[in-house]
């Protein structure tokens, strides 16, 4: 199979052997890929001097894996183009970037291209590296991730009975349905959470004033946790300030 060249972000880096690593990268046009970087941990005699770090952007060249080796590709070239060094100067941004990397790897199918999501993640890392406040940036990215996966919740009407949700009012959000559920449908909806009017307006308008950003972040995180079936690094984002039960 011919080699593929693409723009990529390094989202996970796992030790594979004494000298090799497995990288999970989000490529711009070839989706999420697992690539073995042979010799990446040796300081000498490697094509990957000075090593490939987490949350870097660069050009990858790789030989795609086949079905028989669970699609593990082989990295043949790496040229770093952006290291987002600003992430290493403040812990909130450092944790926020890793939160995004974690949910991206967990939520995405391998080898499915999502150019918009790549651009959103590169934008997030750039904004965090530039010292932008992490929470609104992360909420924006959660929205981009859910949209890209086709799972952006319907916030205009009840997903069960189609009743229109009046703007400016609190409503119930059903996690199994992935959208709003009217009060009549709540008993049939399973796990729901009441969402305040201001938070709903923020979600509808993609506008994150300080009072809604935390609850919106927590709601979208809970949606993502339902999707990936495990916890996230939410608690690391801003201990105490987000993740409150009442949203």
């Amino acid at each position: 199979m011919p080699a593929i060249k693409d723009d990529a972000l390094v989202l996970r880096r796992l030790d594979y052997s004494e000298s090799s690593q497995i990288l999970v990268v989000l490529t711009r046009t070839h989706g999420l890929r697992r690539l073995i970087a042979k010799g990446a941990k040796r300081s000498t005699k490697t094509r990957f001097v000075p090593g490939i770090d987490l949350l870097e952007r660069g050009w990858v060249v790789f030989l795609p894996g086949s079905r028989s080796d669970s699609h593990l590709g082989t990295l043949t070239e790496w040229l770093q183009t952006e290291a987002y060094l600003g992430l290493r100067t403040a812990l909130p941004q450092w944790y926020a970037a890793q939160y995004a990397a974690d949910v991206t790897v967990a939520a995405m199918e391998e080898a499915e291209p999502h150019v918009d999501l790549f651009d959103a993640l590169a934008g997030l890392l750039g904004a965090l590296s530039a010292g932008r406040s992490p929470l609104p940036e992360v909420v924006g990215y959660q929205c981009a991730l859910l949209r890209s996966l086709g799972l952006w919740p319907d916030l205009s009407r009840c997903v069960l009975c189609d009743r229109v949700a009046p703007p400016g009012r609190a409503a119930y959000y059903g996690f199994h349905q992935g959208g709003l559920v009217c009060s009549q449908c709540v008993p049939a909806a399973g796990q729901v959470r009441k969402v305040g009017a201001a938070v709903l307006t923020s979600l509808r308008e993609s506008d994150w004033p300080p009072d809604t950003v935390g609850p919106a972040l927590a709601l979208l995180d809970e949606t993502l946790r339902h999707l990936i079936g495990r916890g996230t690094l939410l608690a690391k984002l801003d201990q105490g300030k987000v993740g409150s039960k009442q949203v």
Partner: protein
């Protein structure tokens, strides 16, 4: 398992299998080492076995700096000629060895036994950071030198330690980074160049 395939007796096959598990040792090297051990006198071969046993039985972590040692406190922590007011913080015992080889560290060490890695589920509490805070709290420490790896996790670990030490009023420094000595600007990554530019030092 008695006689194995290829007519190799079981004890020899077992030795080869164990050797293959060592880093950097493939089946061919394992075979060479195994036959070498078979050929040399019994005493000589058993020196290796004894050395392995001694490492596993006698080495423990220094109660002060957490480095590997056969005596607690370790030789460095016991050494009165060293500057005990300067603590160099590293990720692994291996890093202490490398820094000691430079002969430039007059201070003492603190080994974290890893780095904070949220994606791997490694939290600050999994490291020896509390012991480091305890050492600084006990006083007489004027500088903590953070020598964690200059990668994302090592830098985050340094940030975390810097924040927890800040209220204690100790000076915290970080090893310089930038261009690799002996390399060429042409081959430096963008990150190395950025670090080298921002961390430039006066000359002449």
């Amino acid at each position: 398992m008695a006689e194995l395939a290829h007519g190799i007796p079981e004890p020899l096959a077992r030795l080869m299998a164990e050797l293959t598990r060592l880093p950097g040792v493939g089946p061919r090297s394992a075979e060479r080492i195994a036959f070498h051990l078979l050929r040399v006198p019994r005493e000589e071969a058993l020196l290796l076995a004894d050395a392995i046993r001694a490492v596993k039985d006698k080495l423990r972590h220094c109660g002060t700096c957490c480095n590997l040692t056969d005596e607690d406190p370790c030789a460095i922590c016991r050494d009165a000629r060293r500057e005990h007011g300067v603590i160099v913080v590293v990720e692994q015992p291996k890093d202490v060895m490398l820094l000691e080889q430079t002969g430039l560290i007059r201070g003492v060490y603190h080994v974290l036994m890893g780095h904070i890695a949220p994606l791997e589920g490694i939290e600050p509490a999994d490291l020896t950071i509390d012991a480091l805070i305890g050492r600084v709290r006990r006083g007489d420490v004027r500088e903590v030198v953070l020598a964690t790896n200059p990668n994302l996790e090592g830098d985050g670990t340094a940030l975390h330690i810097c924040e927890v030490l800040k209220p204690l009023g100790v000076q915290v420094t970080r090893l310089a980074r930038g261009l690799a000595v002996g390399s060429q600007v042409e081959y430096a990554s963008r990150a190395m160049l950025e670090a080298a530019i921002t961390g430039r030092t006066p000359m002449g």
